[in-house]
Point group: C3
Chain length 250, copies 3
C-alpha cells in the first residue's frame, strides 16, 4: 500500500537528480521513508537516495517496492506548477499508480521489479573532504565545456581545485579555504594533496541538475572514486553519489 501527496517542486528535484543516471528505477518503500539504489547502465556511477516521509505533504505506506519509468513521471510534472500538490496512490487491484494534479488523473503502469536487484554501495574511507556551494561547481563545469572530456579534482590542505586540461587550452577553478564551507585534507604531511580524474559528462550532468543554492560535500582520494553527498527536499532527502575515477595510464 502506498498513498502520498507531494509538492510538484519537491518531486521534480528528486526525479531530475535520479534521471541523470537511469530512467527505469525501483523505489523501496517503507512506512517511514523511500529509498533507491541504482547504477547507470555503464556501471560508472551509483546513486543512493533516501526520502524521508516528512518530505511529503502526506504519506501512508506499508513495506513495498514500486518500479517506475521516470520519463512518465516527468510528463506529470510538466502539467504542474511548482507549488501544485500531486497526489499519488497505488491501485491495490492492478498495482498501477494513480497520479492526480488538479482535475487531471493519470494512471501509470508500474515496472516489474523482480529482476531489479539493489547494487551494493561500497564503503569508502576517503582521505579528504570539502564542502562547496553548488553554484561554484556549476561555473567550473560550464568553463570546462569544449576543453576536454575529463576533469581533475584536487584537495590540498588549503585549497580545492577543479581543472580541465585540453590539448591546447585549459581551465582551473581554484577555491581557497576561505571560499569553501569546510575542508579536511587527511592526516598526512602538510603538503599532501589528493587528486583524481573523472569523466566530465557524468559529473556535469549531476551538478547541473542540483539546485544552485545547496552545498555539496565532496570526498576525494588519489585515483579513487569520488563520493558526493548533498541534501534535497529542504533537507528531508539525502543523496549519496559515487563516480568511478579515470585512471591516467602512462
Amino acid at each position: 500500500m502506498f498513498k502520498a501527496e507531494v509538492k510538484a517542486d519537491t518531486l521534480k528535484g528528486l526525479v531530475n537528480v535520479i534521471s541523470t543516471l537511469i530512467d527505469e528505477v525501483k523505489f523501496s518503500i517503507s512506512p517511514k521513508e523511500i529509498t533507491l539504489k541504482a547504477v547507470d547502465p555503464a556501471h560508472i556511477a551509483m546513486i543512493e537516495l533516501n526520502i524521508d516521509a516528512s518530505a511529503f505533504e502526506s504519506y501512508t505506506a506499508s513495506q513495498t517496492e514500486i518500479g517506475l519509468d521516470l520519463d512518465k513521471v516527468k510528463d506529470v510534472l510538466k502539467l504542474s506548477s511548482p507549488c501544485d500538490i500531486i497526489s499519488i496512490e497505488q491501485d491495490e487491484s492492478c498495482g498501477r499508480l494513480i497520479f492526480k494534479v488538479g482535475n487531471i488523473t493519470r494512471r501509470m503502469n508500474v515496472i516489474d521489479t523482480s529482476s531489479m536487484s539493489d547494487p551494493k554501495v561500497p564503503q569508502l574511507n576517503l582521505s579528504s573532504a570539502v564542502e562547496v556551494s553548488a553554484i561554484e561547481l556549476q561555473r567550473g563545469i560550464r568553463a570546462s565545456e569544449n576543453i576536454s572530456d575529463h576533469i581533475s579534482l584536487t584537495v590540498s590542505s588549503d585549497y580545492f581545485e577543479l581543472a580541465c586540461d585540453g590539448d591546447t587550452d585549459s581551465i582551473s577553478l581554484k577555491l581557497d579555504k576561505s571560499q569553501l564551507i569546510s575542508l579536511t585534507a587527511g592526516e598526512g604531511a602538510a603538503n599532501q594533496r589528493y587528486r583524481s580524474m573523472f569523466p566530465l559528462d557524468y559529473f556535469s550532468n549531476l551538478i547541473k541538475t542540483v539546485p544552485s543554492n545547496i552545498s555539496v560535500k565532496i570526498e576525494l582520494d588519489n585515483d579513487y572514486p569520488l563520493m558526493l553527498n548533498f541534501a534535497l527536499s529542504d533537507g528531508k532527502s539525502s543523496v549519496k553519489y559515487l563516480l568511478a575515477p579515470r585512471i591516467e595510464s602512462d
Copy 2:
C-alpha cells in the same frame, strides 16, 4: 475594394486559428464582415469564421474575394508589437495587398480564388453541449501527450470528461457541472451519456492556439462529429470548428 486597419494582436489571433487547418485561404469580403470557410487537405476538420467589421480599427470594403497565403501574413505579424496598427489596402490596379506597419510597407501577391470553392458546412443537431474554459482543455491536451494519438470526449447529465487511453497508461480530465460554464445533455434518460473519439493532433493544434481566457462551447453526440464554437477579437469574430470522429472498430 478593401481597405482596413487592424490591431496586430487581433489579426494574429485570427491567423493562428485558421492556420492550424490550412495556409492558403479565400476570404469573402462584404461591406459589413469578412467570412471564411475552409477544410483541411485531409478533409478531417472544417472551419467557418466570421469577422465583423467592428473587429477592425477602420474598415471600408465592397463585395470581393481575396486569396492569401497566411505564412506571408505571419511574416508581417512578426514585424509588429501586439498593439501596433496594421493597415491593409488592396491595390486596385494589380490586386496585390499592401500591408503597412510603422515605416515598413509590404506588397503581397494574392492567390487566384477562382478554383477555391466554399465547402458546405453541414447542419448538425447534436444531443449534448458543454461550455468550458479553454485553459482546462489546454491542460487536458498537454496531459494526453505520449499516451495515445486519439482522445475521447464524454458528456453526461452531470460531468464532462476528456480522456486518453494508451496501451499501458491513461489520463482523464473530469469536470463536474460546477466546474463548467454550462452543460446540456439531451432529453434522454437521466443516465444517458454522449461519447465520441477524435484525433488528438487536430484537437490539440486548435486548442493550443486559442487564448487561454476564452470559453469554448463543445457540442457532442455518439460517434458523431464534434462542433466547437468560440469567439475571438473580443467577441467581434466567431469561429465554428467541426472535427470528424474516429469510429472505433470492433
Copy 3:
C-alpha cells in the same frame, strides 16, 4: 606584453561584431589602442576596428600582435555576467593568453599570426551619406526575410530607403529626412539618387548584431560598395565596415 581588464559586456559587443565576418583574427596591439583589419573568406566584406585603451577598465601593452579564435573567447563570455570584469594577460613565457573571470582561470592558445596579412582598406569617396538608428535598420532586415536574398539601399535628397524585391512580393522601409539623424546626398542635381544592391545575409548578420540604440552612418553611391561607420564600447571603439555591391546584370 599585454595585460588588460575589460567589462564582459564591452568585450561581447566587439567579439559579436567581428565574428559576423570571421572567427580567427589578428589583433594589432599598441600602448594606446588595439586595431583589427579583416576580410571574410569570400572577400565580400571587410571590417576595420579600433578599440581605444580607454574602452578597458585597465590597460598596459607594448607593441605586439595576438592571433585568437573568437569561438574560444565566446566560451569565456558565456561564464560572465554583463558587468563582470574579465582580466586578460599574456603569459610572456609561452605566449598563451590567460583569462580570469571570478574564480575561473582559462589559459588559451594563440594563433600564429605570421601568415595573417592585413587587408588593404580601400579609400572610398562616396556621394551620399545618411545616419540612421540601428533599430530602424533591424526592422527593415526582419521585414526582408523570405522575400529575396538581396536588398537595395537608396539615398535621395529627401529620403533613405531599404527595399527588398522578390518575385511576387516586396517590402520597403522608407525614412524621410525628419526620421533620419542626418542626410547628405551629393552635389548633383536636386533629383539625383544613389542606389546599390547588397547581399541580404551579410548586411543582416552585421545589423542584427549591433546594439539597437546606436546610430549607424551609411555611405552609398551607385553600384558601389557600401561603407558603414558606427561606434561601440560607449564611443570608445569605432567600426568601419565595407560591403561589396551586387551589380545587376541586364
